[in-house]
């Protein structure tokens, strides 16, 4: 599936998944209802009873839609950040967490929950510490000059471990009856707390980052051939890499702000996309964005529908993703030799 049909097909699939997901939930809404509602909404007239119309408006626009839009943004962000990292670090096994963004953001969230207790400061701290962890990785690489790519990876390992340890400290001192469960649950991820306001604040920068990485994707092929080769092609390697790391960090940190820790998406989706469209990053990055969005909506549907209580989405992505990854591994291997 390459070339002209790919993107229309994926976009159509995304649309279908969105429409189908709108029907899922405790209150039954059929596809026909949704079609009638949107017809009414756009044309201004319809056969729908006014009470039902306003009920659907609340249900769809205030409850179900924000969640679906968040899933789209988070899935696309993690997949795009993962694809960019895999190309940049010339390693198909790295994920957006490589430089410590997720560890730092988790620590920030826990810190906020224990010491500040209001939701806005939790979100701000999550974002800040995600960035701080990546800055620490970059700083470690900068202090020891040398093979920067390898040093960046090592810096990421150090920074991730540091913030994981600090997270343990917070968990240890947290109140074990209220705070600790809240932290643990947040770290398992979930989209239930997403509302329109946070979606607007986090979603717009995320969307901007996704678009920018897609615009930069022409450099990724050359970057994955190694620094010297890329520089000999006239690419300002350090600058482009720093910019891409910045964009990937921004959007990954925002996924934690929106929905806690969601693992595996940034590793698996680039592989699946690579199997479908090949390794050329100019096509791979936008394809990853669409596939990541579709995947996360579906996983979120499973999370909220399969049991009477919602399963944290971090658990679902892992439980669905790991076996799937194990099965496709042989085929995925072809994608990166």
């Amino acid at each position: 599936m390459k070339g002209h049909f790919l993107f229309p097909t994926l976009a159509l699939l995304l649309l279908l998944v969105v429409a189908f997901s709108l029907t899922l939930g405790k209150y039954p809404v059929g596809l026909a209802d949704i079609a009638a509602f949107f017809f009414h909404k756009i044309s201004g007239t319809g056969t729908m009873a006014p009470e039902r119309y306003s009920l659907l408006e609340t249900l769809l626009f205030e409850i179900r839609m924000p969640r679906i839009v968040a899933a789209i943004l988070i899935g696309a962000s993690l997949a795009v950040a993962g694809t960019a990292f895999q190309a940049m670090f010339v390693n198909p096994l790295v994920s957006p967490s490589l430089l410590g963004v997720l560890a730092g953001a988790s620590f920030g969230a826990a810190l906020g929950m224990v010491f500040f207790k209001n939701w806005l400061s939790v979100q701000i701290l999550t974002f800040l510490f995600g960035f701080l962890a990546v800055l620490l990785s970059l700083g470690i690489a900068r202090v020891h000059k040398g093979n920067t790519l390898l040093l960046l990876v090592l810096g990421g390992v150090i920074s991730s471990s540091l913030f994981t340890s600090l997270l343990s400290v917070i968990k240890y001192i947290a109140d074990p009856y209220n705070q600790l469960p809240a932290i643990t649950q947040w770290l398992m991820g979930g989209l239930s707390l997403v509302d329109g306001k946070i979606l607007l604040a986090a979603g717009i920068p995320q969307l901007a980052c996704i678009v920018l990485v897609i615009l930069f994707s022409g450099y990724l092929n050359a970057l994955s051939m190694g620094d010297e080769e890329a520089r000999s092609l006239g690419i300002p390697v350090e600058g482009v890499r720093l910019l891409l790391i910045f964009l990937a960090t921004l959007m990954s940190a925002l996924t934690v702000v929106l929905a806690g820790m969601i693992g595996w998406v940034g590793l698996i989706i680039p592989h699946i996309a690579r199997m479908m469209v090949g390794p050329d990053n100019k096509i791979l990055v936008p394809a990853s964005a669409l596939i990541g969005a579709i995947y996360l909506i579906v996983v979120d549907d499973v999370s909220r529908m399969i049991l009477s209580v919602e399963i944290p989405i971090g658990i679902t992505t892992s439980l669905l993703g790991i076996p799937f990854f194990a099965i496709i591994l042989r085929k995925a291997k072809k994608g990166w030799n």
Binding site: F216, G218, A222, R231, G234, K282
Partner: protein
């Protein structure tokens, strides 16, 4: 044939942390020359190549391209004029050969870019010139070493540069592919391309290079016409190996180690009895 200096290396010195890698290297290269950098492992060839490409900053000295200091040129301008053909490597991702060649168009692109139809045409032409169009959609990781090397040369062609700097282009290639590579270099040099390549094979230098620069312990040991400076004496001081340089005819010279399988006959000089070299009507070239 003295041409105006096209690339001029002026008093280059370079060191990693403490040790000196290059000290006071100077030479000039004419346009259209095929130049070979010859020297043992660790002599500083690769470092010198990186400095000439502007990838490393020398501690002292300058490199001029067509009269301009390369440090004054933007990296894109440099890439449009000098192409780097790296040592054979395997990429981690199986990009199509055409995608690898297309990378050569990056120096012509604005900050945000997509490749245009024209870029595709130039890349296809480059593949065509090296007769590897049939590989265009094959994965770069799955083709042979020789084909990969040609792909990298095609990318250099697509880059539009007229000067190619190659780091040990023949290493890792089988015998046949080495010869075909030399063939391509000769063909392109006749079309006006300038080649600067490092090699471990003095014979390759004798066969295709007009100009050789011998580098020993980070300094230029000899600089001149290949057939004049690649001599038994120089090869001995370069590699600490006893080698005879034999003249097959007016143009062609070969290197033969003096002791192959302990057979001393290879080491004997013309005029001596039972000389197999003489039987081939060759003569040993002594140093100048």
């Amino acid at each position: 044939m003295e041409l105006k200096p096209f690339i001029e290396v002026e008093n280059i010195s370079f060191g990693y942390t403490r040790e000196t890698v290059l000290s006071d290297i100077s030479f000039a290269i004419g346009e259209g020359d095929v130049v070979t950098l010859l020297g043992p492992n660790g002599c500083g060839k690769s470092t010198l190549i990186k400095i000439m490409l502007g990838l490393l900053r020398p501690a002292e000295g300058r490199v001029f391209f067509n009269g301009r200091d390369i440090r004054q040129m933007s990296s894109k301008a440099l890439a449009r004029n000098i192409a780097y053909v790296p040592q054979l490597h395997k990429s981690s991702f199986p990009y199509a050969v055409l995608d690898v060649v297309l990378m050569g168009r990056i120096p012509y692109k604005p900050f945000f870019f997509r490749y245009s139809k024209a870029d595709l045409g130039i890349a296809s032409d480059a593949l065509d010139r090296l007769s590897i169009s049939h590989l265009a959609h094959r994965a770069y990781t799955e083709i042979s070493g020789g084909e990969r090397q040609l792909t990298l040369i095609a990318r250099a062609l697509a880059q539009g540069a007229k000067t190619f700097i190659m780091d040990e282009p023949a290493s890792g290639l089988d015998y046949g592919n080495q010869l075909r590579l030399l063939d391509q270099i000769i063909k392109l040099s006749r079309e006006g391309y300038t080649f600067i390549k490092s090699t471990h094979s003095p014979e390759h230098a004798l066969w295709i290079a007009d100009h050789a620069i011998l580098i020993r312990k980070g300094a230029v040991m000899a600089d001149g016409r290949s057939d004049e400076i690649i001599t038994a004496e120089n090869l001995f001081s370069l590699y600490n190996a006893r080698v005879n340089v034999l003249k097959l005819n007016r143009f062609l010279r070969v290197c033969v180690p003096r002791t192959i399988c302990g057979c001393a006959a290879f080491g004997s000089l013309p005029g001596e009895r039972d000389n197999p070299v003489e039987a081939l009507s060759c003569s040993v070239v002594q140093g100048v």
